[in-house]
């Protein structure tokens, strides 16, 4: 479970202090799928980064699987991520110097998973890339790279998966393929899925949707409302 209590995020810029998130309160149950939607600059990626422990809150509390993220230092948060969290990014974020197989293995090794290679090969088969395991990221299409990223995210069987615009860089066909994979694997492993998207169709596939607007969070009530805020 993830719980946010009165979370604020303020950054200092050359023009003074800028409040990006304002008094965010959110609770996501285990196994739930949640979409955070909102216009560009509304603060949804910032919220994702705080929920995933990639950044620190300015004030407030975030509890992830019973652990107070706001009280952990960078090293403790890294350990927590390795053990509990998986990521899928819009720009794939694969290590360019490692092959598809090794990118997937890397995540498993960092989490201390046994037989990293065997499991990586298996999950690559599962995402339909067994034959491309030895290819490097720049030898793969965007859709294939994102499937590798999904394989990497799921190999550690994370409790929570964060996805930042997972289909944002893909065409419609590849986007659908990735969506399917994401939701299928999520369903199989019972992972909590939190995704940030502009795509109201993708958001609609989640059990729950919240809307970010000017740093404030509101629960969505209807698809039209989401559409209005996504722009």
């Amino acid at each position: 479970m993830i719980e946010c209590k009165s979370v604020n995020k303020i950054v200092t810029t050359t023009e003074g202090q800028l409040q990006i998130l304002r008094d965010i309160n959110l609770k996501v149950e285990d196994g739930q799928t949640l979409a955070i939607v909102g216009a560009s600059g509304s603060g949804k990626s910032t919220l994702l980064s705080l929920l995933a422990g990639l950044d620190e809150v300015s004030s407030g509390e975030i509890i992830l699987n019973g652990q107070p993220l706001h009280a952990l230092d960078e090293e403790q948060r890294a350990l927590m991520r390795g053990a509990n969290v998986g990521f899928v990014f819009q720009s794939f974020m694969l290590v360019q110097s490692l092959s598809a197989l090794e990118n997937v293995m890397l995540s498993a090794q960092l989490a201390g998973v046994d037989d990293a290679k065997g499991r990586a090969e298996a999950i690559l088969e599962q995402v339909g890339l067994g034959h491309r395991a030895k290819h490097y990221p720049n030898q793969l299409s965007g859709g294939e790279q994102q499937r590798v990223a999904i394989a990497r995210a799921f190999i550690t069987r994370p409790k929570i998966l964060f996805a930042d615009e997972p289909t944002g860089n893909l065409d419609a066909t590849n986007g659908e393929l990735v969506e399917q994979l994401l939701f299928n694997l999520n369903a199989e492993s019972g992972t909590t899925l939190i995704l940030v998207t502009h795509d109201s169709v993708l958001a609609g596939k989640c059990q729950r949707q919240v809307i970010m607007h000017a740093g404030e969070l509101t629960e969505s009530t209807s698809p039209s409302e989401q559409q209005r805020h996504v722009g």
Partner: protein, 835 residues
């Protein structure tokens, strides 16, 4: 796990060429340092061997009395080779004529370095021999055969002994350049000198001991011997102590090699720093990803430090191989002109190169690595985030400290390192200020419609900080190359000027006043180009400003027991003239005219004045053959001792010297093929001593040519290293430009526009860097020439024009080539690589 990961990343990155730049920089630095220092060590050894011939050994101990046998015993214990020589002046008698000669009796080990040359006929070219005169035989200078009117094979009497003058002595290695008080030489075996009876009580004998061996043993011997030496009895010499043209040339060349190596190290360091920065930037994303996936900072540190260590070790091994091959190639290339040998292996250069690799790689990648370790995982969402964990000051302190440590390590001299380092640091600060200023001025030029010119200036302006750093690194590279080039030109010019064509190669001494008209007539008849004729008289300086000067014998390291002023310790050669001699410059007072005041006037050489604490206006008292002469110091002179002409500490006013009987000395040049004419030229001049320095001059010229050639090679090596650094810098900066090029291409910009904008950008940077380097190199050269190389400072205005043009051309071409490579990649690939 981390070691496994590091190894795997290393293997993959090697295979994919990700580590090429940093590996190339380490290979380059190690290869440059190894090849330069190995070649320099071989060359110095060869030159030391060659120049050691001038003192017939690596070291020489001269003594006015027989030395303690324990000294020689100690030398033997240190496994030094020893040769002995006893010399004295004695009369030679033959055919009813008497001539004063310099008798040199040597043992069978003589000479330890160089060779004796003899000929069958007087005034003909000599040949090298390895043997000495057989028992009861002597070899004599050609002039002695002429003065005694005998042929080789005739008998000569020396003291109580009779010997066969069997061969004409052309040369011995330690004849020296001294033109005062030299007589014609006679060489005999050490065992034979007792037969002459000239070694008895009261005889004025000089002893010379020659030593060769390993440098460390020779130094150990000197350290042991030094406290026992008496300054006025003993003189310890090595070629390095020599203030002659040779000693000076070798010392200057050594300093130049040292400087070249130091600069090569700095260049290497710059290239590693540039490469490490690039390496770090290319790994921002992988580190952010690993951190996002749960890797701790400690794990990242271990992985990347291990990876840098792998690269460093591989770079060092490859660099050593390349450096060795390079120096081998250079030695092979020059072996017919410079006597460099590949027989000896030197470990020190290898140690220095390996250490350089480690120090440069680790210290110069410290900041980029710290920046890398500080990359927050948030970068996976915010690509513009860069590491901010460590302040840039740490980088400067680490880099500066590393450079200073390396300079100190190589020079072993804190002062030289300090001067160079502080000068360099000040220059970098000044360059930074100037470059930032210039970039801001460029803002005005970059506004308006978008063309190649505006794009170029816009890029320069936008990346002001990065471009300042790049500008400084270009400037420093060009500056170092200019310093090496300008110094080499000045040095070689100065050496060549010492020995221009027509340099006197013969000296005549002991010319009487009555012989002068005959001599001048002979010079005219034989169309000989003669130098000035100087009167000469020997006198002892006894008082300075009324204070008696020291005469007691003192040990080398002790203060004199007598609290008197220091003296010359020997008789001085006094001359007189109405005009300042060529190669002399009055630096204080005015050179005297003809009018004599209360005292006759004397002009004193500046350095001896300093040593003897003589100041302007002091009254100097000389004892000339029992007569006292007092003269007032009215001028001080700077003397160029490296010119091949007689030079004097004391020059007196002619009017004061009229009553003293003088002999005369002069020099002249005679081409090698006219050597035979010497016999006829000197025939009417009995008692005149001929000092033949022709062989010496040729040897000196040969050494200077070899040193010059070696300097050229060092220059080429440093220039190559510098060029590679420039390429690395341009390549590194292309990464930053890649994204912009991709965007411009995507927007449909034509290749010509992009190419010209990049070329113009690099042309501007190269031009400014060249200009700043030209200005800065004058400052650096001033300190180097005056403080380190003992040369006179000079301006190099030509470089003010050449350096900006060459800088613009080289950097522009490199930029154009790199840009051309980028433009060959299709836009899709460029964009994909960016993502």
């Amino acid at each position: 796990m981390w070691a496994n990961l590091a190894l795997r990343l290393f293997r993959h990155e090697m295979r994919r060429g990700e580590l090429n730049i940093i590996l190339a920089a380490i290979v380059l630095s190690v290869a440059a340092v190894l090849s330069l220092s190995l070649f320099s060590a071989r060359l110095q050894s060869a030159l030391n061997d060659k120049t050691a011939e001038f003192i017939a050994g690596d070291r020489q101990l001269s003594s006015r009395q027989v030395i303690d046998p324990a000294w020689l015993q100690k030398a033997r214990e240190l496994e030094l080779n020893i040769a002995e020589q006893i010399s004295t002046q004695s009369m030679l008698f033959a055919n009813g004529d008497l001539v004063l000669a310099d008798i040199r009796a040597v043992d069978s080990a003589y000479p330890l370095k160089g060779s004796v040359k003899i000929s069958e006929q007087a005034f003909s070219a000599g040949r090298e021999v390895t043997e000495l005169p057989p028992e009861n035989q002597v070899w004599m200078d050609a002039r002695l055969f002429q003065l005694l009117n005998i042929e080789p094979g005739a008998e000569v009497e020396i003291g109580d002994g009779t010997f066969i003058a069997s061969r004409v002595l052309s040369d011995i290695p330690d004849r020296g350049f001294a033109v005062f008080g030299n007589d014609q030489l006679v060489l005999m075996r050490l065992e034979d000198i007792a037969k002459t009876g000239v070694t008895g009580p009261g005889a004025r004998l000089s002893y010379r001991y020659f030593f060769t061996g390993r440098d460390a043993d020779l130094d150990a011997f000197y350290q042991w011997l030094r406290p026992q030496l008496n300054r006025e009895l003993h003189r310890w010499r090595s070629v390095k102590d020599d203030e002659s043209a040779i000693g000076n040339a070798v010392q200057t060349a050594e300093r130049y090699f040292l400087l070249a190596i130091m600069l090569a190290v700095v260049l290497a360091a710059v290239s590693i720093a540039v490469a490490a920065q690039r390496y770090s930037q290319r790994h921002f994303d992988p580190v952010a990803i690993m951190k996002t996936l749960g890797a701790s900072k400690r794990l990242i540190q271990k992985v990347y430090v291990l990876q840098i260590l792998f690269v460093t070790m591989l770079g060092i091994v490859l660099g050593c191989v390349l450096g060795f091959v390079l120096q081998h190639g250079v030695v092979m290339l020059v072996s017919d002109r410079v006597p460099v040998s590949l027989d000896t292996w030197y470990w020190q250069p290898v140690g220095i190169a390996v250490l350089t690799g480690f120090i440069c790689a680790l210290l110069f990648s410290l900041y980029p690595l710290m920046q890398l370790f500080g990359i927050p995982p948030l970068r996976v969402l915010r690509r513009d985030i860069e590491g901010s964990g460590t302040k840039r000051l740490v980088q400067y302190v680490a880099a500066g400290g590393a450079i200073f440590a390396l300079m100190w390590l190589y020079s072993g001299n804190l002062q030289i390192s300090g001067i160079l380092f502080l000068t360099g640091a000040l220059l970098v600060i000044a360059l930074f200020a100037v470059s930032v200023g210039l970039i801001h001025i460029g803002r005005l030029l970059g506004s308006g419609n978008i063309g190649a010119w505006q794009l170029a200036w816009a890029r320069i302006q936008r990346r002001a900080m990065n471009n300042s750093v790049q500008l400084i690194s270009f400037s420093v590279t060009l500056l170092l190359l200019l310093v090496v080039l300008a110094l080499r030109n000045d040095m070689i010019k100065q050496w060549r000027e010492q020995l221009p064509q027509g340099t006197p190669n013969y000296f005549l001494a002991n010319i009487t006043a009555t012989q002068l008209p005959v001599l001048k007539q002979q010079f005219t008849d034989f169309t000989v180009n003669a130098g000035e004729i100087y009167p000469l008289i020997r006198g002892r300086l006894t008082e300075i400003a009324g204070e008696k000067v020291q005469s007691a014998v003192t040990k080398e390291n002790e203060q004199p027991a007598e609290a008197r002023r220091p003296g010359l310790g020997r008789e001085a050669n006094l001359t007189w003239a109405s005009n300042v001699q060529a190669g002399n410059k009055v630096v204080a007072g005015t050179f005297f005219g003809d009018d004599v005041g209360d005292y006759p006037e004397v002009s004193v050489e500046q350095k001896i004045a300093e040593r003897l604490r003589i100041t302007m206006g002091d009254i100097l008292t000389f004892d000339i053959g029992g007569q006292t002469l007092q003269a007032k110091v009215t001028s001080l002179r700077e003397v160029n001792w490296q010119t091949m002409q007689p030079n004097f500490f004391f020059v007196l006013q002619p009017a004061a010297m009229q009553d003293f009987p003088a002999t005369y000395i002069t020099s002249f040049h005679l081409d090698g093929e006219r050597k035979q004419a010497l016999a006829s030229l000197l025939a009417p001049l009995s008692s005149v001593t001929l000092i033949d320095v022709d062989a010496r001059i040729n040897q000196l010229r040969q050494i200077i040519d070899q040193v010059s050639l070696a300097v050229e090679f060092i220059l080429v090596l440093v220039l190559s290293a510098g060029s590679l650094v420039l390429i690395a810098q341009v390549q590194a900066s292309m990464d930053e430009r890649r994204q912009e090029l991709a965007i411009l291409r995507t927007l449909g910009a034509r290749g010509g526009l992009i190419r010209w904008s990049v070329v113009l950008e690099f042309l501007i940077i190269g031009l400014v860097a060249g200009l700043m380097a030209a200005l800065a190199h004058e400052i650096a050269l001033y300190f180097l020439q005056t403080e380190v190389f003992n040369m006179s400072a000079s301006w190099h205005f030509e470089y003010w024009l050449i350096a900006p043009l060459v800088g613009a051309a080289v950097v522009g071409v490199l930029g154009a080539v790199s840009c051309w490579q980028l433009l060959r990649i299709n836009t899709g690939q460029l964009l994909r690589n960016m993502l």
